[in-house]
Subunit: 415 residues, 2 copies
Amino acid sequence: MKKNVLIIGAGGVAQVVAHKCAQHNDVLGDIHIASRTAAKCQAIIDTIRAKQNLKNVDGVLAGHALDATNVDATVALIKETGCEIVLNVGSPFINMPVMSACIATGAAYLDTAIHEEQDKICETPPWYANYEWKRREECEKAGVTAILGAGFDPGVVNAYAKLAVEDYFDEIESIDIIDINAGSHGKYFATNFDPEINFREFTGTVYSWQNSKWQSNTMFEVKKVWDMPVVGESQTFMTGHDEVHSLSQNLNVPNVRFWMGFGDHYVNVFTVLKNIGLLSEQPVFTAEGQEVIPLKVVKACLPDPSSLAPDYTGKTCIGDLVKGKKDGKDTEVLIYNVADHKDAFEEVGSQGISYTAGVPPVAAALLIASGEWDVKKMANIEDLPAKPFLHLLNQMGLPTRIKDANGDRDLNFAN
Amino acid sequence: MKKNVLIIGAGGVAQVVAHKCAQHNDVLGDIHIASRTAAKCQAIIDTIRAKQNLKNVDGVLAGHALDATNVDATVALIKETGCEIVLNVGSPFINMPVMSACIATGAAYLDTAIHEEQDKICETPPWYANYEWKRREECEKAGVTAILGAGFDPGVVNAYAKLAVEDYFDEIESIDIIDINAGSHGKYFATNFDPEINFREFTGTVYSWQNSKWQSNTMFEVKKVWDMPVVGESQTFMTGHDEVHSLSQNLNVPNVRFWMGFGDHYVNVFTVLKNIGLLSEQPVFTAEGQEVIPLKVVKACLPDPSSLAPDYTGKTCIGDLVKGKKDGKDTEVLIYNVADHKDAFEEVGSQGISYTAGVPPVAAALLIASGEWDVKKMANIEDLPAKPFLHLLNQMGLPTRIKDANGDRDLNFAN
């Protein structure tokens, strides 16, 4: 049983995490939010109070200024606040230092994306082996629970894959993870996450796991149209993504691919920016001698993803299409969720992409608090039992649906 | 009779200017090149010597480091070198300080584009009235010859308009200036001039002179396909350009428009960059707090225009389509030049756009040196006799052609 939560980060996902933690502060205890800019934490706290999302209204809800690249400062804040669970939803550049602070204090660690170094894009596969998995022994020795990639994708889609293994298949041939945002924000161009992180996802090699080995492609090279529930026919491209790098290693499945939906307009804007060199993470010098990282300037010009929320309409559909054999017969199951941008905004003041990414780590934190997922070692989501997680998400706003030969239905935990 | 030339600037156009001055140093005397970066001046000097373009091989050819925004420094250099003609082909941000240095020393002043302030784009029409024309009296009082806009466009196209007035029409209804670059540089995207200056031309209001008043449009709003000699059918857009702002005021013509050729790819890249805000001359702040001007970062990412020269192929066609009445009859005359990128590179090591912009100011300097254009006051090109200028350009690599009811032929100065 662990309690008191330190949320690191104050962006769109952190806002959802904070609201959802507040809704469960009877279980989670004190809620602390830390970010480089204290004012951003306070802004989130204000929206929680405005929406009356703090279940236990007398509970602690506080913001802190923190440079999370400074391990000592994070250790001090964890000790000072008595937090036993750290929800890291800041930039992926801080994952390793925050993990160090957790190992030093014994606090449980949760994140939603792989660690990245500022000056490196798309390292060798499997990505988790470059930083996270090197610290497995260290976590186990310290008895620290460290749950990696606990957002939606990676995160919930890993649990969908695990559920397929547990309940629907004897043998799996392929897992295709499909992520469609059929929403509309009304801007000329915007990214749904931090533009810097969003673009970094797409500027490297597209690694997929096919026929039990790594295959390399370039972004926007492999296109496929999927007919998905609710959102309909959707153009996607094979994309490099965290969960391919763990599912391929942790489940005995020969094909794991990730498909992200992109409209022609996104592809065009991305292609122009990339070809000119404006998505580069490497510095350039202006004629006046100023050293600048182009990608950070593009980020500065684009809308703040959290500013999209009030006008965002439409739905997301994210799921795993799993193919394989059950009882000797070819079987195909789609396990998925549909979320609504407007509903998300009404509940927690965020758009749907932040919502789908921010609710799952809180469900995971609740499972650490209850002990069910407090495994005292490092784990990816597929290393953990899927059903308690999906059951909680059903109750917390991200219900799972199943579509197969038996129809299209809610995943039911009534039994 | 004036002599000794100070060239300010060391970009692609300055290289052409320097080569052409060197070819005529028997008339022009000493050739000095000044720029913020002395090494750039030396690089130009090296190419002049390599191509043996210095006519009088014992003539002075020297480079200097100069911050041309510093009037005192420019005055000192003019005095030290004994230059009586200053060819300003640096950035348009330095026009006014360089003009001040000329007025202080009595040196003749020449430029190829209107003055601009860093933080202002597209001021009110007529553009020349914002800075240059305010100093007419000052120039006349000091007896300083200041010739404005002496490149190709503005510059040669103004002389074409003047020639039309002098020789081909009793009354002119419209002048359409058409600028087509049908060349290919083989890069994903590049501008032919300094990207910062190039984009600044297209981010403001498109002013045209129609029915004897200013009309406002947006960039890429008004499209027209012209069938031009040699380059054929070409897609153009109505564009704001310097010469519209002087011809409209100096010639009694009710319609003066400028049309720049743009392919769909240019329009797409420009539209993406502009809509995202990356062409802005106003600073933004990165998440890390660094103050940056997006346009300067785009410039840093794009190819240096002078680097395009070796692989540039194809031709440019720039001219004035003039319509009006002669001897009571409707008359239409196209006065134009065709230049070749490869020929330009072979002669002076530059691409055709730099060549067409860099040869005319040297022709103008020769006319100042000879006294023909040494008018001791400020003048736009159309204020001066066109024929001596066009005659010189015929001999210097930019021959004028005429296309009308009598055929398509060289403009002949044999008589």
